[in-house]
C-alpha cells in the first residue's frame, strides 16, 4: 500500500467498522520506495476471509492483497519476553529452555530475564506458554510477517 500518512488509518478504520476479527497487524517499508507492506493475521472461515480481502483490495491506497497461509508462505514473528524466574536454582533450567527455542537473552538483572524469540507464531506461542511457569511478566510481540514460498513441496 502507499507509504503515506492516513493509509494506516483508512485500513484500520475499515477493519473496525466492519468488525473484522484481526489477530495481528505488522507494517513496514516494502522493497519499492513509497510503498509499505502490511501483514494481517486472522483466524476465520473462508467466506469472512474473502470479504476482508475484497474490502481491503477496494481501498484506493492499496496496491494489492495476497492471501497466504502456513502451507504456502514463510511466516515469522518476533517477541520480547520478560520473566522473573524466582529461585536462583531454576535459572539454568530456564536458560536450557531458551537455548532449545534458540532465543537470545537481551537483558538480565538479579530478578529478571528478557528473552528475544523469533520463529513461526506457534513457536512463539509455545515459548510464552512455557514462560508462564517461570514468572512471565511482559510480552511484546511484533505480529507475523510473511512472504510467499517460491518452492513448494509439490515440486
Amino acid at each position: 500500500m502507499e507509504d503515506k500518512p492516513g493509509v494506516l488509518y483508512r485500513i484500520t478504520n475499515l477493519i473496525r467498522r466492519k468488525s473484522f476479527n484481526i489477530e495481528s497487524i505488522a507494517v513496514g517499508k516494502a522493497e519499492t520506495p513509497g510503498l509499505s507492506r502490511m501483514t494481517f493475521t486472522m483466524v476465520s472461515d473462508y467466506s469472512r476471509f474473502d470479504q476482508v480481502m475484497k474490502n481491503i483490495d477496494a481501498l484506493i491506497d492499496v496496491r494489492g492483497v495476497e492471501p497466504l497461509d502456513m502451507r504456502n508462505a514463510a511466516v515469522r514473528e518476533l517477541a520480547l519476553v520478560k520473566l522473573s524466574p524466582g529461585a536462583p536454582a531454576t535459572r539454568p533450567e530456564v536458560i536450557n529452555y531458551i537455548e532449545a527455542f534458540r532465543g537470545n537473552i537481551v537483558d538480565v538483572s538479579p530478578d529478571t530475564l528478557t528473552v528475544e524469540v523469533s520463529g513461526d507464531p506457534d513457536k512463539i506461542n509455545a515459548f510464552i506458554k512455557l514462560a508462564k511457569n517461570y514468572g512471565l511478566t511482559q510480552v511484546a510481540r511484533t505480529g507475523a510477517v510473511a512472504l510467499s514460498r517460491e518452492m513448494t513441496l509439490a515440486e
Binding site: 483508512r10 470479504q51 484506493i60 496496491r63 494489492g64
Partner: protein
C-alpha cells in the same frame, strides 16, 4: 495561481455548472474566486446556490447527481460546516451517488491544535466517502481535485471529500492541471468475463420460472434500455429492490413492482417460487431480502454486481457471480441469449405472475373521498406527467410511494434508501430541479421529515428554484408510530408532532405558496397549478394518524411471512 483559483479551475475543467454550499471563515478564499462567476441574470459560469444548512447543501448536490448523472458538488467551511455535511455524505455513500464535497480547513500550522472551527474532517469523512483528500501544498490541489471527480464518478459512484486548509487556498504557486489521474489499484472494470456470461445465459435460458431482480446498480449504469430489452427477449418478469425502483418501467407487462420489506406481498411470494433469480445491481440489503437465511432457499441465484466486495457479503450462495458494470453485463448477455421459442415456454409462468399481481390490484382499489396516504400517492401518478421527477423523504409516505407510485421513465424517482435520511427529499428536489429545470419536480414528504430541512425553502425562493412539496400530514412520526403499534403495544413514545407549524403559513412566511387540500379534486387542482408555478408550492394534505403501511415484512421474517393487516 492561488490554491483557491486552482479549485475553481478544476471545477471549470470538469464542466461544473452549479455548486451548493455555505461560506465561512475557512473557505472564504474559494468564495472570493467564485464571486466573479455569480451573474444573477445569466448564471454564466459556475452558479453557486446558497443553502441555509450544509446538510441541505449535501442533499442538493446528491439530488443534482442523481438527476443529471453527473457529479454533484457541495461546499462547506471547516468545523461545524463540514460536520453538518456528514449526514448528506453518508446518505450519498449508502445509495452510491457521485458527490464531491469541498471543505475549508484551518491553516496547516493550526491543524492538531484544536483551533477555532477545527475538526478532524478527513477522519470523520473516511467512513462515509470513497476517499478523503487533504492537500497540504498548493501544487497538490489540482491533482487531488481532479482525482476527487474521477473517483466519485467511476465504478461504483460514491462521495469524495477534499479538505483544503486555508493557507493552501491562499498560497500561490505554479500549478499544473492534469488531464487524467491514475490509481494503480483502481482501474475501470474489465469487460464481463465471457465464460461467466455464457454460463449465466445458459442458466436463464433453461429456466422455467425466471425472475430478474434489478437494484440501484442498473440505474447507476444507465442500463435501462438494456434491462428492458433483455427482459423482453428472455420473457422474464422483473422485480426491483427499493433502490431499483424505476430501473424498469412499472407499467410494463413484465413488471412485478418492488419486493422487500414494504414491497408488494404478491411479488414477495412469487420470488421463492422462481427457479432462477438473476440479481443485477442489488446488494441484498436486509430491507430487500428479509431474513437472508430464509431467502429463496430453492432458487438458483445469479449475482451480477459492479463491486466485487458485495458478492458473497450478504447473500453467500450465488450459483454464478459476475463482477461487471450492469450495462455491459446486460449488453453481453443480450448477445448470448437468442430470441425464439421463449415466449411459448414462459406462457404459463407469465400468466401466473399476472394473475397473482391482478389479485393485488383489485384488493387495493380505494374508494371514498376522504384522503388517505395511499390514495393520495396513487392519484398523484395521474396528476403528474411521466417525465416529472419525484423525490421522497423517509417514513410511511416513502413506503407508500414504493408500493403505489408507478415509476415509468428513467431518472425520475429519488429517495434515500440506504441511510433513510429524513430531510433528504426537499433539498434533493432542489438539486434535481437545477439539473433538469425543464421538468416538474415534486417532493413527497411527511410532516416530520419536512421540518428537518425546511430551511431549504429560503434557498428555493431566493434562488428561484420552484418545486412542489406534498406533505402527508398526520401530525406524527408515522413510521415509528406504526412500529409502536405493531411491536410495542401502541406505546406511542415521543412520536406526536402536533399541529405545528401551519404549513400554509410557513410557506407564505418564506415567500412560497401554501395550500391545504382535503379532497382528491382539490389535490388535483393544487398539484396541476403547483407544477406550473414559478414559485415553490407546499401542499398540506392532512391524513389520519392511524393509517399503516401494509403489507410489511417484520424483522426476522422471511419474504413469505408478511403482515397484511
Amino acid at each position: 495561481m492561488t490554491g483557491a483559483q486552482a479549485v475553481v479551475g478544476v471545477l471549470e475543467r470538469e464542466g461544473v455548472e452549479a455548486v451548493f454550499g455555505h461560506p465561512g471563515g475557512a473557505n472564504m478564499p474559494i468564495y472570493d474566486v467564485l464571486y466573479d462567476h455569480q451573474n444573477p441574470r445569466e448564471y454564466k459560469g459556475i452558479r453557486h446556490i446558497l443553502a441555509r444548512h450544509e446538510q441541505s447543501a449535501a442533499h442538493m448536490a446528491d439530488g443534482y447527481a442523481r438527476a443529471s448523472g453527473k457529479v454533484g458538488v457541495c461546499m462547506a467551511t471547516s468545523g461545524p460546516g463540514a460536520t453538518n455535511l456528514m449526514t448528506g455524505l453518508a446518505t450519498a455513500y449508502m445509495d452510491s451517488s457521485s458527490v464531491v464535497a469541498i471543505t475549508g480547513q484551518v491553516p496547516t500550522f493550526v491543524i492538531g491544535t484544536d483551533g477555532f472551527q477545527e475538526s478532524d474532517v478527513v477522519g470523520m469523512a473516511t467512513s462515509v466517502t470513497k476517499y478523503a483528500f487533504q492537500p497540504l501544498r498548493v501544487r497538490d490541489v489540482p491533482y487531488m481535485m481532479k482525482a476527487a471527480f474521477y473517483l466519485a464518478a467511476t465504478r461504483r459512484p460514491q462521495p469524495v471529500l477534499v479538505d483544503i486548509p486555508k493557507d493552501v487556498q491562499q498560497g500561490e504557486d505554479d500549478v499544473e492541471f492534469p488531464d487524467h489521474v491514475d490509481f494503480p489499484n483502481y482501474r475501470p472494470l474489465p469487460d464481463p468475463d465471457p465464460t461467466i456470461v455464457k454460463t449465466i445465459a445458459r442458466t436463464v435460458l433453461t429456466a422455467q420460472r425466471p425472475i430478474i431482480l434489478a437494484g440501484g446498480g442498473v440505474k447507476m449504469a444507465n442500463a435501462y434500455r438494456e434491462l428492458q430489452a433483455f427482459a423482453e427477449l428472455l420473457v422474464a418478469p422483473v422485480a426491483t429492490s427499493f433502490m431499483g425502483k424505476g430501473a424498469f418501467p412499472e407499467n410494463h407487462p413484465l413488471s412485478l413492482g418492488c419486493m422487500g420489506m414494504h414491497g408488494s406481498e404478491q411479488t414477495n411470494k412469487l420470488l421463492p417460487e422462481c427457479d432462477v433469480l438473476l440479481v443485477i445491481g442489488s446488494r441484498f440489503s436486509d430491507r430487500t431480502t428479509g431474513k437472508i437465511e430464509k431467502f429463496c432457499p430453492n432458487t438458483k441465484v445469479i449475482h451480477i454486481d459492479a463491486d466485487k466486495a458485495e458478492i458473497g457479503k450478504n447473500y453467500k450462495l450465488p450459483v454464478v457471480s459476475l463482477v461487471a458494470d450492469a450495462k455491459k453485463a446486460l449488453q453481453h448477455l443480450l448477445r448470448e441469449v437468442e430470441a425464439g421459442m421463449l415466449g411459448q415456454q414462459r406462457e404459463g409462468w407469465i400468466k401466473k405472475t399476472h394473475d397473482v399481481l391482478a389479485m393485488a390490484k383489485s384488493e387495493l382499489d380505494v374508494n371514498g373521498s376522504n384522503l388517505s396516504g395511499v390514495e393520495t400517492i396513487k392519484m398523484l401518478r395521474r396528476f403528474l406527467p411521466t417525465k416529472a421527477i419525484v423525490t421522497t423523504e423517509v417514513g410511511q409516505h416513502q413506503m407508500w410511494c414504493e408500493q403505489h407510485f408507478q415509476v415509468i421513465e428513467p431518472r425520475t424517482f429519488f429517495s434515500s434508501g440506504g441511510l433513510g435520511t429524513m430531510g433528504f427529499g426537499f433539498p434533493a428536489a432542489l438539486g434535481a430541479k437545477v439539473a433538469r429545470p425543464d421538468v416538474p419536480v415534486i417532493d413527497i414528504a411527511g410532516d416530520g421529515s419536512f421540518l428537518m430541512t425546511e430551511n431549504s425553502l429560503a434557498t428555493s425562493v431566493e434562488e428561484q428554484i420552484p418545486v412542489t412539496v406534498i406533505i402527508l400530514n398526520n401530525q406524527m412520526l408515522g413510521m415509528v408510530a406504526q412500529w409502536q403499534r405493531f411491536f410495542y403495544k401502541r406505546r406511542y413514545s415521543s412520536v406526536h408532532l402536533g399541529k405545528v407549524p401551519d404549513y400554509v403559513k410557513l410557506a407564505e412566511a418564506y415567500g412560497a405558496t401554501g395550500v391545504r387540500v382535503n379532497t382528491i379534486p382539490e389535490l388535483e387542482s393544487a398539484v396541476t397549478r403547483a407544477i406550473q408555478s414559478p414559485v415553490t408550492t407546499i401542499i398540506d394534505v392532512p391524513i389520519s394518524p392511524e393509517e399503516n403501511v401494509l403489507p410489511m415484512l417484520p424483522p426476522g421474517a422471511g419474504i413469505k411471512e408478511m403482515i397484511i393487516g
